[in-house]
Amino acid sequence: MSLRKRWYLPIFAASTGILVACSSTGAANNGSDGASAAPSESNSTSQAASPDSTAKGGAVVVGLLNAQSGPWAGLGGDINTGFNAYVEAHDGKLGGHSVTVKMADPGNTVAQAGTSAHRVVEQDHAQVVVGFINSALAYAVGPYMETSKVPLIITGAGADGLTQKAASPYIFRVGNSSSQPTLPLGDYTCKELGYKTATVIALDYSFGWEAAGGFARGFTNAGCEIVQEIYAPTGTQDWSAYVGKIDKKSQVVAMAVPGADGVRLLRAYRSYGVQLPIVAYGGTVDQTVLPTQGDTAAGVISMFGYSTALDTPANKEFMEAFQKAGGKQPNAYAEDGWSAAAALDAALAKIDGNVDSAAIVAALKGLSFETARGTIQFDEHGQAIFDMYVRTVEKVDGHWQNTVTKTLPKVSQFWTFDPEKYMALPPYEKLKGTWAK
């Protein structure tokens, strides 16, 4: 056999296959608003609601499409658990209508996402679809939702374009767009924290460009200056080169690096003795990674629409229901699932009699409702407007948390800019690398 010389070829073939199928660094991840992964709940496919004589009208079928396999399975499980927790806590009824949740796994490929959307809409007759963490999948499914006239409530996927240039009357989003927290963060860092020069570190794909661009736009618009931009690929194991590059003359470092990369970045940052203060996109220090980051994250100031440390009855209700439903650690992604259910709850309450997709779309339009993070209102592009929280990482009773220090009311995806003018600007992917003077 000439096995010896050629035997590694099948290995490469196989491992390339694995890379494509499994790697969380693949291009298919572009635009997702968190690179981390979180608890995986192997939820069963459906949660039957008990038929109830007090129900107002016909039953409602919801298609729940967050990843149950692939790199986003952990976060997908959290979002699904958050959604189901809300339905359970309300005895299987939303807005007085009994609800059946049909789950399908969009995986992490456009093809599987499409199949799962077709399945819940055509086989299960879902009147509304909730889901998606990976923005590429949300982009791919958008046109199908529009032709089938079934509304989609996006949970985790953050790509700005989904509710801007690619906005559709059938698409709503309860989570933040990638730049929604960082626009005000840039403004706050310049005006309130008083740092005049900043270095930006972000992951090198559309989410990172948008989050970094949002910060840079807010920061420079307030009269301060970006001195350096650093982009690193997702799945960077050794951050020393990037940390070593940081311009020590900047007064602050702004980070948009969620997930395990954020854990490694902060660790490198501390162990190389960089002393500059840190401001961050909230997902960088989300509760999914914060316990592992521990004291390397101490003092990080971040902007996000949610914190588990929010001391409100609504948040307490969410956290308890989430854990009761089998969720392990409440976090912002789980809250997105919870909020999607809260949106449906409020929308369905406006509908009497038979529920169809058209009625749900009409009810969701401009809807305002209460959820764990506070009040959410959909803007005319379908994007949620909600309060942003300025949070500081600190240890309270032995646990690391994001303590809320300030609330910025009703932050839109356009911050204070005029929507039409904002959308006419070049997209952030084109502006990458042009912010630094």
């Binding site: 096995l3 099948p10 694995i18 992964a37 995986s40 090198d204 490198a268 190389y272 003795g273 990674v289």
Partner: protein, 288 residues
């Protein structure tokens, strides 16, 4: 000054890569068993160490648990699965990928997919002062560890009877059997040792990288690249390859940041074009 720190960083990353690849070097490189469950064994070591060290409060017990756990799984994999398909690379690929997926999903179910960090080896937390710059002590220790590991593996293979038996069995399986070497038995233990090295890398490297279930596949790819560039069964070659990749990645990130994710694999393609047998790979003149 800055250069020396960058070089040290590159070498330390190379050290980590060698530690990661050492188990693969033994299973794929020396034994020619396709072991695509390497990343999963890495995870088993890391997560077990994390769990046990957490329960007992003792780093060494955790380390031991991680290494032994990966060792036992390696043993079982070789004895009950791979030996049955010793003649088929494709079957070995499928079996080990399958085993890897199973292990990865079990880990996800048990420990969630959130990143977790096994404890840092005692005394290596924090930073050392090198010529006025702060440098993580763990990275220095990783470089030292890689050197020690490379020397130890070479010594065992070249200077001990065990090493001679392994080399004989791989080079000429039937001849080794006919002179009385219990080849399947030997293979089982050597594969187990490869698993133990993967587990050890998980404990050590995990504290450097933070563990998450998906990390297993990234580790496998990095390990494969290192041993293929190095020349498969050459420990010195793997060490050299790890150091070159470490240094080039470090400087690549500094000077050509937009190509950062391309470096490791770009180097692999280039080396294989110039030297198809790897840097220090043996040129095989006889059909094995």
């Amino acid at each position: 000054m800055n250069w020396s720190i960058d070089i040290l960083n590159g070498l330390a990353y190379g050290g980590l890569l060698f530690v990661i690849a050492s188990g693969l070097n033994m299973t794929i490189g020396m034994m020619h068993r396709v072991n695509l469950a390497h990343g999963a064994l890495f995870l088993v070591g890391g997560y077990l160490a994390l769990d046990i060290a957490d329960r007992t409060g003792n780093y060494l017990i955790g380390l031991l648990a991680g290494v032994v756990g990966a060792f036992v799984i390696g043993l079982v994999l070789e004895r009950f699965l791979l030996q049955r398909v010793a003649d088929s690379d494709v079957a070995q690929i499928l079996l080990t990928v399958g085993a890897g997926l199973l292990i990865q999903d079990q880990i996800r179910a048990r420990y969630t997919a959130n990143p977790l960090t096994p404890p840092t080896p005692p005394g290596l937390d924090g930073s050392s002062n090198i010529g006025g710059a702060m440098f993580p002590t763990l990275k220095l220790a990783t470089l030292a560890l890689a050197i020690v590991l490379a020397i130890a593996m070479t010594m065992v293979l070249k200077k001990t009877k065990l090493g001679a038996l392994v080399r004989a069995s791989v080079d000429d399986n039937s001849m080794a059997r006919s002179v009385g070497v219990r080849v399947p038995w030997l293979y089982m233990w050597v594969f187990g040792a490869g698993g133990a090295l993967a587990g050890f890398a998980g404990v050590w490297g995990g504290s450097y990288l933070s563990l998450e279930p998906e990390l297993g596949w990234e580790i496998l790819l990095l390990g494969l690249v290192v041993i293929v560039i190095g020349g498969l069964d050459s420990i010195g070659g793997a060490f050299l390859a790890a150091m070159i990749i470490g240094l080039l990645t470090q400087f690549g990130r500094l000077y050509f940041p937009s190509f950062a994710s391309f470096f490791v694999y770009g180097i692999a393609v280039f080396v294989l074009l110039v030297r198809p047998n790897g840097l220090l790979g043996r040129v095989v003149t006889r059909e094995a």
